[in-house]
Symmetry: C2
Amino acid sequence: MDIRVAMAEMGRAARDAARVVAAASVEQRNQALVEIQQALASDRDRILAANAQDLEAGRQNGLDAALLDRLAVTPARLDVLEEGLSQVAALPDPIGEISDERVMPSGISVGTMRVPLGVIGMIYESRPNVTIEAASLCLKAGNAVILRGGSEAIHSNTALGASLASGLSAADLPVEAAQVVPVVDRAAVGALLTMPDFIDLVVPRGGKGLIERVMAESQVAILKHLDGICHVYIDSEADAGKAHRIAFNAKTQRYGTCNTMETLLVAKAQTGMLPALVTALQEEGVEVRGCDVARVAAPAITIAATEADWATEYLAPVLSIKVVDGVDEAMAHIARYSSDHTESIVTENQATAARFLREVDSGSVMHNASTRFADGFEYGLGAEIGISTGKLHARGPVGLEGLTSRKYIVRGDGHIRQ
Amino acid sequence: MDIRVAMAEMGRAARDAARVVAAASVEQRNQALVEIQQALASDRDRILAANAQDLEAGRQNGLDAALLDRLAVTPARLDVLEEGLSQVAALPDPIGEISDERVMPSGISVGTMRVPLGVIGMIYESRPNVTIEAASLCLKAGNAVILRGGSEAIHSNTALGASLASGLSAADLPVEAAQVVPVVDRAAVGALLTMPDFIDLVVPRGGKGLIERVMAESQVAILKHLDGICHVYIDSEADAGKAHRIAFNAKTQRYGTCNTMETLLVAKAQTGMLPALVTALQEEGVEVRGCDVARVAAPAITIAATEADWATEYLAPVLSIKVVDGVDEAMAHIARYSSDHTESIVTENQATAARFLREVDSGSVMHNASTRFADGFEYGLGAEIGISTGKLHARGPVGLEGLTSRKYIVRGDGHIRQ
């Protein structure tokens, strides 16, 4: 069958299923999560066998060790998925709440109700656990979801999709509420991105190539981050101990994450702390690049940072350091080069901190804290569907609330407009 | 100069100006509104003369009386604009507020701060007063705006733009914070819609042709409504008096507005009220069309409603009536034909009302109230930049809050991630 026709049929079925899930009680949605958890447990052998097929094909296709590791489904990882389902089931219901209700001069009462978004399109790579994690969040928030994983994980995702279907059936919800695209045809992604009638939001998770393709082709709103070029700025009035600790942690706690610091901005009054910090970073294995002033202050920096460095997300043990006059130059640098993900200021001056917090236009702006905290779990969201560097709808780490919408609720008693 | 180059320069200047406006105090933003008000007063003769040019050209181009009326700027309308500026200045500051702040187990404090969106692109037709109304809301919310009105209003809008510039200068804010596109070249719209680096949100206001063009071409998020196919559903447990009053008001209070009822759904248990209601509507001059059952119940309905009627926004004294079994069929009809704008149920049964309020997926859902209430002023928003039928970012009538975003604010005291 033509892939676009098949995708449209999935979309239409998802749209219908979304109405049923949206109308279901939170008890029924939670029961679906528990039933999916039980299905995962009873389907374990089938899932591991399907994953073994993907791993074998991956080895034959020359996937590297890191990719094979991300592709692997193990009993321990299934334990984590099952535990995650319990945790999502235990979260408060994100929908139905009515807020800001008040009576207007006309006599009508006006408030807003949090409701599901509708149908989410999830496009992701490698890690098959995303199939279950994303589906559980979408269902909890009363949505339907279409899941399109990478071709390298097709058997694993199809097996996990069968467990989703068993769980939904057992909870008396339509299986079309969580559908795994069952084919590897690349055109399926293009079709997903061009069905605004059936898909309300697309969430891509994966490498830059995937995100860029989705951005270029999508006719549907996207929740995504492309880059994480995160900055720490050490202000002239920073506490040296906190500054050293935060900068070291923001760079070295993990290298491959989007909330890792890529550029350190240092007020020129603080260049005295650079030699010790650079030494500590280099001893940890970080390659440090610096502007001219930084290299004079810390001769251990032997590599000159170029214009390209300021615009690069290394995702690696590399750091660029720039010395600036003060907070204004730091904020101007951030406005120019930041990917709007996460920036942090280290200072003891509360007025300077307040300016930075207000004026820096990123999803997360921090004071005296490591950028590595930019994470849905660290923010108490209970779960994370993704991180958004856009300014509309949802921003920064996105939890269940980002999978909902708010509509107006108006109540009268026969009220008419004069 | 090439229009795309010129628009990109306006965009870049707006982006820079937006940073300045975002950092300005609310006192300075309010002062700009007051200065604009004073500039409008002192520029009155110049504005009226410019408008006379547009009106003369409009007459020569054969614009009809309704369009000429919308195009006209009069002393009375300038009074309204000046009063509107005072009202917007008096509204509470929509930005800067920090909410949901709490301390996490790690010790960091996490909250969200409401901040400006950045740069708004306003695309509109005919009514020159939109130039001032839209600019005042964008500036109040800390944004910059690029205003692109219709070619028929070019002299009026340019004159109003000069008053905006005087007011901004007098308040020591950059004039690029509110720029009127000074040329009529249609390609300017295309350029505005394809500058996602410089424009954060596009708000189109005008006829269906304009909205459809913007939807087709925009690479920037849009806040819009295309149709207002609004429904009133008279439930089997409706109070007959309220039902008659609400249905009559929702259709006849104004015909050309997007929140006017276009289809009336009536539970079959209530068809007894149809003859009197139909007579009242027909006496008011409304053409009533009905399904077969409705025409049997009220023989005064002489026109059969066709499939096309259910999907039509008449914007005229025309109403289609459909008899349904009950609330389930009513909600299914709405899910299929509604434009997601506004729907209302009339019932005394609170459980039925609660289901309708929760399950109907429109920007405004009402109980025992006329759809004509769907309006930013009636909702107490203080002002309205537009109405959105989309589910993301802002929904229903959109006031100042829809011109803002929320970012995460994290505070620590040297906290690092373990």
